[in-house]
Symmetry: C2
Subunit: 354 residues, 2 copies
DNA sequence: ACCGAATGTGGCATCGATGCCACATTTCGG
DNA sequence: CCGAAATGTGGCATCGATGCCACATTCGGT
């Protein structure tokens, strides 16, 4: 009775405990003395049922402990109340907050969140997309790793909202922080403090997040008539150790009076390096970050940041997707920019005198 | 054609874009020249299919872009590969890490995580349980808010693993940190540094988490022959501001040379108060916390903590639940204790001299 | 050679809820 | 008063995949 080994790795489960048979609409119908069709209409669906019948059916359902079967409903009605959410790392507070905002809005609308952590890996992302197609979800919110994922979903009739960034030129909805404006405001703040040698720690510029932040950094220099030394734009990979190493090299090779870190992970590395060198913040060097996560207000001195309102970003994603699913929107794609807000704390101060 | 207002608040969605008809097993059967039964067996289920037929069916499925429908599969097979996960606050790094570990293990086993944030609210928790029953999930991992939720799920034939804590006396599986041993080790550490006046900041002791941490605190005093002043056990509500106020009162009313905070949220409040008072850590007062989240190693001085290995806790929950679902375990309930580990950093030092 | 077990295929009913529509009754507007 | 629209009910097919089993063939052991 053992199948060929080829099947061994697939998810196999025993049915939920066998002795538990759940009441169906047939049972409710018998209990209430109406037809199964009437039960369905009285409990859930569009269509007519008199107030008296509704009350009778509801009482009967409650009496016998009836619980709808989403699988049956989804199959017949050809849709689902599950929404896919693809993020890059649940352990990063940015994504955790994003997911929190999304989940909150979905729950309020009686949708369920199916959360997948693709680890920023293109293969995992596509695997997740396939799974969500199999689940027949009507919509997906994705922090895209490749342009392929949103496209495949859309080609299969699934509504997609890209969160935080878009890749390439898609034709779908996007919700993101106003990266350029936020980075510009932060850089303005430092320039107003007298800084003309500002390092930028950044991991990527091919995604709209990094690109927007870099653009804001550049624009602030331009608008304030401050020359930008291209060597102060320091590229690093997306982990705190690499960022720390890059900060070390930046400080060793260049005169810098302030550092902007393009996200919370890089900020960790930069801070660790400054502490290691026993540099006094902000007296000797100012440090600021794009994103605001809890530790940034707990360190001493607390970090000046740009708050992306990440939870609100998540809520906005969910609201947009739900409106799209309900057909409340015109076909034209929508780009929602959530304003970012500068939060000045103790880590930024006047540029040291030469 | 408008239904009565009573239906207006329910989740209503348009089918995924209408013009997209998905290929079914009937289509694959035609393409491969076999029966639909054979398609099903060749692609997914237990049962026999020859290697030649398997290859032919797979090629046909790929050619026409066939994607399984989980709803149909779940309905017929009376189970599902979705797993419910109920947590209390996705914005708290503890729960985010827990969910991350769970998701990782589920994904590897080709299960999907349906994540609900119940906000530690009993009503929300029960609502989530109802939804998961409707989805016919075979298992749920829950950080329980009430004893009712695990019970109702189990009565309906759903396997349950309680994470982090158990309420009352349930008969289900539990995975938790070894709270007592961890708290004891932390308290031992402070006593070994000469502290005899150790404050404990704690928000609850009715759950096994708080109760275990308190028990460890007491046991360390007893075993080291240090008298425990009951007034140094300071109760507070579960938010950083309340913890801060409670810390203030504790310091105003009692001589204390060290503070243990029972979780990461309370530690935030305590740290803020110590900083406000400009107390020198650890020279004037030591601070330690149960739980280890990123900010704790980033503040100055870095906090001495007990690392719950929260991601591993999550993995362990998922592995246990999957084993239960697969019928790999004897009926007897299982309690898994994940060892906690003391991490000594700069925030704890010798007790100040009288 | 014979028999039982294993392998393999196809037919058909099944899972539980809803879409669709025929039919009946009531309400509303001209 | 009459016709159209709205309200309400029940019957039956449908959604897409799999469980179950009858039947056929092959393989291994005696």
């Amino acid at each position: 009775m053992s199948p060929r080994g080829q099947q061994a790795a697939r998810a196999v489960s025993q049915p939920a405990q066998q002795s538990v048979r759940r009441p169906t609409v047939q049972d409710v119908a018998r209990e209430a003395g109406v037809s199964p069709s009437t039960v369905s209409r009285a409990l859930h669906t569009r269509g007519y049922a008199s107030p008296d019948v509704r009350a009778r059916v509801r009482a009967a359902a409650e009496r016998i402990g009836y619980v709808l079967d989403h699988n049956a409903r989804n199959l017949r009605s050809r849709t689902s109340t599950s929404i896919g959410v693809l993020i890059s790392d649940l352990r990063n507070p940015f994504y955790a907050d994003l997911a929190a905002g999304i989940e909150e809005e979905l729950r309020a609308a009686e949708y369920q969140m199916v959360l997948v952590n693709d680890n920023g890996d293109p293969a995992e992302e596509m695997r997740a997309a396939e799974t969500l197609l199999a689940m027949r979800v009507p919509g997906v919110i994705v922090t895209p790793v490749t342009a392929k994922c949103p496209r495949v979903l859309q080609e299969n009739g699934v509504h997609v909202v890209c969160a935080d960034r878009e890749l390439g030129r898609s034709n779908g909805d996007v919700v993101m922080s106003d990266n350029k404006a936020g980075a510009r405001e932060l850089t303005d703040h430092l320039i107003a403090l007298g800084h003309t040698r500002i390092g930028l720690l950044i991991d990527e510029t091919k995604w709209s997040t990094g690109a927007g932040r870099l653009a804001g950094f550049r624009a602030a220099h331009l608008d304030n008539f401050v020359d930008l030394d291209e060597d102060l734009i320091a590229y690093t990979s997306f982990d705190a150790d690499a960022a720390r190493e890059t900060t070390r090299k930046l400080l060793n090779e260049h005169e810098v009076t302030a550092i902007i870190s393009a996200n919370n992970v890089l900020a960790q590395g930069a801070l660790a390096e400054l502490k290691d060198r026993r540099l006094r913040i902000p007296r000797q060097i100012s440090l600021a970050a794009y994103d605001d996560v809890p530790w940034m207000s707990l360190v001493q001195p607390a970090l000046t940041t740009v708050d992306q309102h990440t939870v609100e970003l998540g809520r906005s994603c969910a609201r947009l997707l739900l409106a799209r699913i309900r057909g409340d929107l015109p076909a034209r794609r929508r780009i929602v920019r959530v304003p970012a807000r500068l939060i000045v704390r103790g880590s930024t101060g006047p540029a040291p005198r030469g």
